[in-house]
């Protein structure tokens, strides 16, 4: 147990959405579950990668690998063009 990093209680807990006492290693969900293509037509799925203003979330928070972050960004931008996702929003979630 000694190898588990201890974070300084409050500051990280909002990022990791986790117990403030220990880190949980983030991972790329696309690599883990074998998703190769991100569909711009699926608004519910893309909503997981934008914040409540409709802005793209950074990899730092979602854990997505660079390869798939580029694809996520492309899909979100396509969805915005087709009015599937808003360019700007207020309290989307």
């Amino acid at each position: 147990m000694s190898k588990v990093k201890k974070s300084s209680a409050q500051d990280d807990s909002f990022i990791f959405n986790n117990s403030p006492l220990q880190f949980k290693k983030k991972y790329c969900r696309f690599k883990k579950s074998g998703i190769k293509y991100i569909d711009f037509k699926n608004a519910d799925f893309l909503m997981k990668f934008v914040n409540d203003q409709g802005k793209l979330l950074p990899r730092r928070l979602t854990g997505t690998s660079l390869k798939y972050q580029r694809k996520v960004a492309e899909a979100v931008k396509r969805a915005r063009h087709l009015a599937i996702l808003p360019f700007i929003g207020d309290q989307l979630k």
Partner: protein, 133 residues
């Protein structure tokens, strides 16, 4: 517009495309079908073969376009030579009923995904395993 020459088609490589259009909501059901049929005809005339189509019906837009808050979404998925894209998009731009359009080339993963999606495999919640951020 030049009719598609069958002789040329032998040298052309077919690519997979997906084209989404948003039609204005003021159309009657019949007018909408007519507009879609004309684009469908254009694709086949230009040497494309339609793989599948999807119509979402009247759908709410995420933000207003041309002062409309709803629109008819229609999706064509087809195989065609690359020359088709410019002609198809020109036809979209000329047609006042089309509010928005997007044509993209599909890679092999996308083709596979769309095939599985059309069979309804992604409606089951277990396929896409989600993790809370």
């Amino acid at each position: 517009m030049q009719p598609f020459n069958k002789k040329d088609s032998k040298n052309m490589v077919l690519k997979n495309y997906e084209s989404v259009i948003i039609l204005t909501p003021v159309l009657a059901e019949k007018q909408m079908q007519e507009a879609i049929a004309s684009f469908r005809q254009l694709i086949t005339e230009q040497g494309g073969n339609i793989v599948r189509e999807e119509n979402w019906g009247l759908t709410k837009l995420a933000y207003p376009i041309a002062k409309k808050s709803t629109g008819f979404y229609h999706i064509f998925e087809f195989q065609a030579p690359g020359t088709i894209v410019a002609k198809l998009e020109l036809a979209y731009r000329r047609d006042e009923q089309v509010l928005r359009y997007l044509t993209i080339a599909l890679d092999k993963h996308a083709v596979l995904y769309n095939e599985r999606r059309s069979k309804g495999e992604f409606n089951k919640p277990k396929v896409i395993k989600e993790v809370t951020i």
